[in-house]
């Protein structure tokens, strides 16, 4: 089955599904002698049941520790021989693995990913050793008050939906999870019919497809993984939380339940976020590494220019199911916390009732247009985008993003603001620093 699509102008995307259900997306990019391979799984922290929070991320770690045909001590070195880098990440909807290296490494990259899908070992000693590594990762995150607040805000915003727990998991679960829990989870979700393989780079698509078929074709499909059925009930009133902890700086976050990536309101809300805090683009892998253009954005002018905040940011991520639109403020030294919050909420209320202007709409579209170009500057970034969207929705959503952004109207933005930014739909979280006793 082949469904050609245009992921970006001038670039032909080849889409195939093998008999075992594995989706394969291939795009030739001949701008550098490189290739990037990503293997995506539709499993993330939302698929975890209570008691096993963090299992998706822990599995990701275990899947770098040797397979039936790649001895533990030979995992590193395979891609490095080609000057390559490799990595992986886990989030609420997805787990993914990547290698980017010179094009002659393509065969090895596909071999590694096929091994990762079918033959990881989960040696008990490795599971135990990784337990402390992951707890160390969790503790490193807790060192950051902003990250701690984000975790608590999300947990407070969701009462029922599994998006509520952090991807890294809750500490007691990480302390008690067993090797069998991990391996069982791995076997359930790491099947070709739950995965998308993406290949982008200086390759010949036909050859790459043949190689992929050779490595992945023999892998047997598994039962269709069960999906969480919980729908978060509508929030019926503002929720608040305060973390009081030793620290030096106050942080404020306001989270609103927001539409999923496929919802017609998603792109209008993306425009709204650009007007409020500057356009971030649509690439989880690269967009947030550079601050958005935001000096003329509403919340920057209202908070940073008035010395209430030292920074402000907005986050609307494309997700499979409705997640959050979050606005974060780092309170400026000496600013009154009450003023920071009241000004932020006033601005959000103003846009909820008054919408945005024609000039703001035009600027937001120009920003997003530029960001989409900047996001496609490497084979790694292009491959990420193809796999990300196919995993949370469909690659067509990404291919169609420029047109959808261009088509957004003032009325649509106003409607998205009206339905999303209501007081009853929000959770307000503060990190209040207590004096440090050292």
């Amino acid at each position: 089955m082949a469904t050609p699509a245009e992921a970006r102008p001038g670039a032909a995307l080849r889409a195939t599904t093998l008999d075992n259900g594995l989706k394969i997306l291939i795009q030739e990019e001949h701008t550098a002698p490189l290739a990037s391979v990503w293997c995506w799984y539709k499993v993330g922290s939302k698929d975890e049941r209570p008691g096993l929070t963090g299992v998706s991320h822990w599995c990701e770690h275990m899947n770098f520790k040797g397979t039936a045909n790649i001895p533990r001590d030979q995992v590193k070195g395979i891609i490095e021989k080609f000057g390559g880098s490799w990595n992986g990440y886990t989030w609420i909807d997805q787990t993914t693995y990547l290698e980017t290296a010179t094009r002659d490494a393509l065969d090895r990259m596909l071999f590694i990913e096929s091994e990762r899908m079918a033959s990881c070992l989960y040696h008990p000693d490795d599971c135990e050793s990784e337990r402390t590594v992951i707890i160390s990762e969790l503790q490193g995150g807790e060192n950051d008050p902003d990250q701690l607040l984000d975790q608590e805000l999300t947990a407070t915003s969701f009462k029922a939906h599994p998006y509520r727990h952090p991807t890294i998991g809750w500490l007691p679960d990480l302390q008690t999870m067993t090797r069998d829990d991990l391996y069982g989870y791995y076997r359930r979700y790491y099947v070709p019919n739950n995965a998308t393989l993406v290949i982008v780079g200086d390759i010949v698509a036909d050859d790459a497809l043949r190689q992929a078929e050779r490595y992945f074709g023999p892998i047997q499909p598994g039962p269709e993984p069960e999906r969480p059925r919980t729908i978060e009930p509508e929030q019926s009133g503002e929720r608040r939380l305060t973390i009081e902890k030793e620290g030096t700086t106050a942080y404020l976050k306001v989270g609103y339940h927001a539409p999923a990536a496929t919802d017609p309101q998603f792109f209008p809300l993306l425009i709204l976020d650009a007007v409020l805090t500057g356009a971030k683009g649509l690439n989880l892998w690269s967009s947030f590494r550079v601050a958005p253009p935001q000096r003329s954005a509403r919340l920057y002018r209202a908070l940073v220019e008035r010395r209430l905040g030292s920074s402000v940011s907005g986050a609307l991520m494309p997700t499979e199911q409705p997640f959050l639109y979050t606005v974060s403020v780092t309170a400026a030294d000496g600013a009154s916390q009450a003023s920071v919050e009241s000004v932020l909420l006033e601005e959000l209320d103003k846009v909820r009732t008054g919408g945005i202007t024609e000039a703001e709409l035009a600027k937001a579209k120009a920003q997003l247009r530029a960001r989409l170009v900047f996001d496609s500057d490497s084979v790694t970034n292009i491959a990420h985008q193809l796999g990300y969207y196919e995993t949370i929705a469909s690659v067509d959503l990404f291919a169609g993003a420029p047109a959808r952004i261009a088509a957004v109207t003032l009325d649509q933005v106003a409607a998205a603001a009206r339905s999303t930014l209501t007081p009853a739909n929000r959770t307000v979280g503060w990190f209040i620093p207590l004096p440090v006793s050292r």
């Binding site: 701008t31 550098a32 002698p33 490189l34 590193k76 070195g77 490095e80 021989k81 080609f82 000057g83 290296a101 010179t102 050793s129 402390t132 590594v133 707890i135 160390s136 990762e137 969790l138 503790q139 490193g140 807790e142 060192n143 008050p145 030793e246 620290g247 030096t248 700086t249 356009a279 550079v290 601050a291 958005p292 253009p293 935001q294 000096r295 003329s296 954005a297 940073v304 220019e305 010395r307 030292s310 920074s311 780092t330 309170a331 400026a332 030294d333 000496g334 120009a366 920003q367 247009r369 530029a370 960001r371 170009v373 900047f374 500057d377 490497s378 620093p433 440090v436 006793s437 050292r438």
Partner: protein, 436 residues
């Protein structure tokens, strides 16, 4: 143990893309222009670097350059802060202004269609900042907040304290780039104006343009924007030499409100011009970078499961820069982690790298060149660094040969020259009060 120089023509042929072959022009006023056309995306990266980093902060006024970097783009002789904000935001551009010890860099990526007005804007910001008083007051509050955030960050506290210990007595490498709160609050507009007047001049400027614009046109536009700037060259920056530690020292910064401890462990190493630089680079890669943290990662993360991150970084610079090992560990594992770092250093100094380790790191570093030069921003950064250290326009082509020329003896001699647990300086910041 010895080995002959390794040559790997097959590898070089396989991994190389086309040579960068950038175009270089020196304007009459001394400014250097480097341009490179690429056509991956319809975008251009512009990078303007002044040799005016934080090492040039006046005595007793550490943080001057950092504050200048926060204010320089908030108004010029002909543009208000709002004008600049509008020019950037309407094009989707984020202007990043970075300060290192030696460089003050304005860099942004724009659509190719916007290249000319954007370069004109950046040139104006660099040459004629108005430094308005109210903007200085606003940005001071932001810098103070950032310093307070750093004060609450164990990783930053450990790294900054390590630098202060390796480069003591107010040495420019040992000072905090952002300065301290009391200094920042004291800084005046006159301080910033003086700093700009003293250090910003065309002789100190390297302008790099990489992207979807032909080299000739990029050079012509850059020459038009920057060629009219006339100002005498500032005197060269004189830095005190750095001395290697003669004894082991440890500082503990208890931060009991934190969950994880950060360790920064280091030595004064070498200058970038040192002939042994490539041996140090390879040695450091094998020791603390290759795959996930080299030998250090193998021991501390993979075998002992003690840390989420551990690695070492070599910052060979104008003077002898640091080689710093950093790790994030549970408080209960701090002593074991430090002991493991000591052991790995002792083993490296005593037994050296294996030929296989050196070969793996060499293949990796050579093979990674196309990846490191894939994006416009990465190429611009590479060209800026090459110009600053005088590496030559063909550095990307010569780099494999330079790495291939390093022998096992060279790499092991590099380890012996600098690494020694008995002379290590290290800092632990976090929920750790010290060994009982």
């Amino acid at each position: 143990m010895s080995s002959t120089p390794h040559t790997s023509d097959v590898l070089l042929t396989a991994s190389r893309g086309a040579a960068l072959n950038p175009s270089r022009t020196v304007l009459d006023n001394g400014a250097v222009l480097l341009t490179k056309a690429t056509h991956t995306t319809p975008a251009v990266t512009v990078s303007l670097s002044m040799r005016a980093g934080s090492a040039a902060d006046p005595e007793g006024l550490a943080g001057t350059t950092w504050l200048l970097s926060r204010v320089i783009d908030r108004g010029t002789a002909t543009r208000t802060a709002a004008d600049i904000a509008e020019e950037l935001d309407s094009r989707g551009i984020t202007l990043s202004i970075g300060v290192t010890r030696h460089l003050f860099t304005l860099v942004c990526t724009c659509l190719a269609d916007d290249f000319e007005p954007v370069l004109a804007l950046l040139g104006d910001i660099l040459q004629s900042p108005s430094l308005p008083e109210d903007e200085i007051d606003t940005r001071k509050r932001e810098v103070v907040t950032a310093i307070r955030q750093d004060d609450d960050n164990p990783a930053v506290r450990a790294s900054e304290t390590l630098m202060a210990l390796l480069y003591p007595g107010g040495h420019p490498y040992g000072r905090r780039t952002k300065g301290s709160i009391d200094i920042v609050e004291r800084l005046t507009r006159d301080d910033l104006v003086r700093q700009h007047a003293a250090r910003f001049a065309p002789s100190e400027l390297t302008a790099v343009v990489v992207g979807d614009v032909e080299a000739g046109r990029a050079t012509e536009v850059a020459a038009r924007v920057l060629g009219g700037w006339t100002k005498p060259a500032p005197p060269p920056l004189r830095l005190p030499p750095a001395a290697r530690a003669t004894a082991r020292s440890r500082v503990v910064i208890p931060m009991m409100n934190k969950a994880q401890a950060d360790v920064a462990y280091g030595f004064v190493s070498i200058t970038r011009r040192d002939p042994a630089y490539y041996a140090f680079w390879l040695m450091n890669n094998a020791f603390g970078q290759y795959a996930i943290g080299g030998r250090l990662g193998d021991s501390i993360r993979e075998r002992q499961g003690m840390a989420y991150y551990v690695s070492s970084a070599l910052d060979a610079n104008v003077i002898e820069g640091p080689l710093a090992i950093r790790a994030g560990v549970s408080p209960a594992n701090v002593d074991r982690a430090v002991a493991s770092i000591d052991e790995e250093i002792e083993r490296l100094v005593r037994d050296g790298l294996t030929p296989q380790e050196l070969d793996e790191s060499r293949r990796y570093l050579i093979g990674s060149i196309p990846r490191a030069l894939e994006t416009n921003a990465a190429i611009a950064n590479f060209l800026q660094s090459g110009e600053f250290f005088g590496l030559g326009l063909d550095y990307d082509v010569r780099l494999p040969e330079l790495l291939n020329a390093v022998t096992l003896d060279d790499a092991n001699a590099a380890a012996r020259r600098v690494l020694d647990p008995a002379r290590a300086t290290f800092v632990v910041a976090g929920p750790y009060a010290g060994t009982q």
